[in-house]
């Protein structure tokens, strides 16, 4: 187990380092001159241009700029945004609650709904209920999160006109109100996939030999499913949840766009459109970091759950 953890951690650090280089180089491939983004079309003298270049470290070599960026990240400083002339870290911190709230709430909604749904469809195989739910799943998988959001807004405005669900918030109640609907919209595409995987792996477990033994010992269906099959069938679900995390993180960008929420997505897309490197590299790095960290933790989690995985890579 110890070797497994060390191997995983080493891999994790290397991937993070390479990813940081890729992000750094990519955002600088754009031919737009950063100074023109900073001054925003105003007339400038050569002296101001030189001052700005010095202020934003643009007069240093790319290698030095990279080191400054990485050093800053370790100190919690993502540099200064070109457009807003503000520290990227404070911009991120201000918008983090929305993004984190969306990811957490939609994961919870998705898990709470999809696991029972998967179990039910596995138990009621080939009944009208199963067929009906499968059709809904098929449609949900094909439904991008922004479309679900638009439909949701349409439904809210039709059925409960006057409810405010977009814009800024001042207290916790309002905050929950703002992120509830987008989270539901975001959770929908997750539910389709996760419940499908739960169903497949549940059926596999139900048909396995140990379930047959449990049945012949006289355990009830309920005991077999909850005490025996559930734990085993959740391993693929954890995997799919880990890979889906990436989809979810990008999904917040789309959903907050529709609901006009002030999260990380809107300034990221804005930064991409206007070549604001510090914002783009900072936010992308942060999101990739979160994504890789979750994947790594999940890898370790199922090494804990399933000794076979540990044994395979521990040699």
């Amino acid at each position: 187990m110890k070797k497994y953890v060390v191997d995983k951690l080493a891999q994790y650090v290397i991937v993070l380092a390479i990813v940081s280089v890729i992000i750094f180089v990519m955002v600088r491939l754009n031919p737009t001159d950063p100074v023109s983004v900073i001054v925003g079309g105003k007339q400038t003298t050569a002296e101001t241009v030189a001052n700005i270049r010095a202020e934003f470290n643009l007069d240093k070599t790319y290698f030095e700029q990279y080191l400054i960026w990485i050093k800053g990240i370790f100190q919690g400083d993502f540099g200064t945004s070109f457009q807003y002339r503000q520290n990227v870290t404070s911009l991120i911190m201000k918008r983090l609650p929305v993004t984190v709230g969306l990811v957490l709430l939609s994961s919870v909604i998705a898990l709470v709904l999809s696991v029972p749904l998967g179990i039910i469809t596995a138990l009621k195989q080939n009944t009208p209920l199963d067929t009906g739910l499968s059709v809904i799943q098929l449609i949900l998988v094909a439904c991008p999160p922004f479309l679900t959001s638009i439909l949701m807004i349409l439904l809210i405005t039709i059925f409960t006109p006057g409810v405010s669900f977009t814009g800024s918030f001042t207290n916790f109640n309002e905050y929950m109100q703002r992120i509830l609907y987008p989270s539901i919209a975001l959770a929908f595409s997750m539910i389709a996939l996760t419940s499908r995987v739960t169903k497949t792996s549940m059926i596999e477990q139900l048909n396995s030999n140990y379930t047959l033994v449990a049945k012949s010992k006289g355990l009830s269906m309920r005991q077999r499913v909850l005490n025996h099959c559930l734990k085993n069938s959740l391993i693929p679900v954890i995997t799919i949840f880990g890979t889906q995390m990436g989809v979810l993180i990008v999904g917040t960008v789309l959903v907050e766009n529709v609901f006009s929420l002030a999260g990380l997505g809107s300034i990221l897309i804005d930064g991409v459109k206007s070549c604001d490197y510090p914002i783009v590299q900072g936010i992308v790095m942060l999101l990739v970091f979160v994504f890789i960290t979750i994947s790594m933790l999940l890898d370790m989690l199922y090494a804990v759950i399933d000794p076979r995985i540990r044994a395979k890579s521990g040699k």
Partner: protein, 294 residues
């Protein structure tokens, strides 16, 4: 023999597969002949007639600039399908050779190529596409190239696993003993045996490409005005969603319809090729897991 083959072909044409095939055919025909079917220029602005509901002249009504929604759906469909095909084409051109080399030679080549794939997979897919767009600028071509590259690792890993199974078979050994070159064995002997499985995956991938491209266009990073695809139409229509829902619902329904049809059709072909796989989840994200197991 002849009869059993007929039976097998018959088993392919189940209800859902026929329906999805017909739907796909209609969508493809509609976008190919968009110029003939559409009564209006999709970009023709008519300020005197904005946001009209469905009328006799405008089958699906007009959008916020008075453009005919039905014509825009047709031309937008052409744009959407072409760009999705572009994404798949790019991922095939890079991904399949990478997978073949990786699987056939193994060892050092394999390790290096798979490490690169892992790095690309470390990014949530659309996020990497955003970074690409910030490097090379907005526009549909850049979005297509970006997504094409993002799709490479999945396809390369699938091809690799198929080749690793094939390369141990007798016909490969025979080809080697006759003295065929490695290139000949890889592309002329092994590849044809993998094509059917790859085609199924590509059918499903077109669906994902449509969804991802729609997301990019929706955010304004893909297709640029006045040209439009279904994703961009959704974005244009959402501001007026309460006044004229059709402006964004129509392209939305088209996206869902196309992707659902592609998924059903792909699943049908898969079931026909390999009845044992019928119960497996067919989704790309699950491929990653399966790819590692193989």
């Amino acid at each position: 023999m002849d009869n059993s083959k007929k039976e097998k072909i018959k088993s392919f044409f189940t209800g859902p597969v026929i329906v999805s095939a017909v739907v796909l055919l209609l969508i493809i025909l509609a976008s190919v002949f968009a110029g003939i079917i559409a009564k209006y220029d999709p970009n023709e602005v008519d300020i005197s007639n904005i946001l009209s509901g469905p009328t006799m002249q405008h089958f699906l009504g007009t959008d916020k600039a008075g453009r005919d929604i039905f014509s825009r759906i047709l031309f937008g469909g052409r744009m959407t399908l072409l760009s999705a095909l572009g994404v798949i084409l790019i991922s095939v051109i890079i991904g399949v050779p990478v997978g073949i080399f990786s699987g056939y030679y193994g060892g050092w080549t394999d390790k290096m190529l798979m490490r690169i794939s892992d790095i690309i997979l470390a990014f949530p897919s659309l996020l990497l596409a955003f970074v690409f767009v910030s490097a090379f600028g907005r526009g549909i071509i850049n979005a297509v190239v970006a997504l094409g590259i993002v799709y490479v690792p999945m396809l390369a890993k699938l091809t690799r696993s198929l080749v690793m199974v094939e390369k141990n078979k007798v016909y490969v050994e025979a080809s080697k003993s006759i003295g065929y070159s490695d290139l000949n064995i890889m592309f002329k002997q092994i590849l044809p045996n993998c094509v059917s499985t790859l085609l199924v995956q590509l059918t499903l991938d077109i669906g994902y490409a449509i969804l991802d491209l729609a997301s990019m266009s929706f955010l304004g990073l893909g297709v640029q005005p006045p040209t439009s695809d279904w994703g961009a139409m959704l974005d244009e229509g959402r501001i007026v969603i309460t006044i004229s829902p059709l402006a964004s619902l129509a392209p939305g329904m088209m996206i869902i319809l196309t992707v659902v049809a592609l998924n059903i059709f792909g699943d049908g072909v898969r079931a026909y090729l390999d009845p044992q796989q019928r119960k497996l989840p067919s989704l790309k994200k699950f491929k990653k897991l399966v790819g590692e197991e193989m």
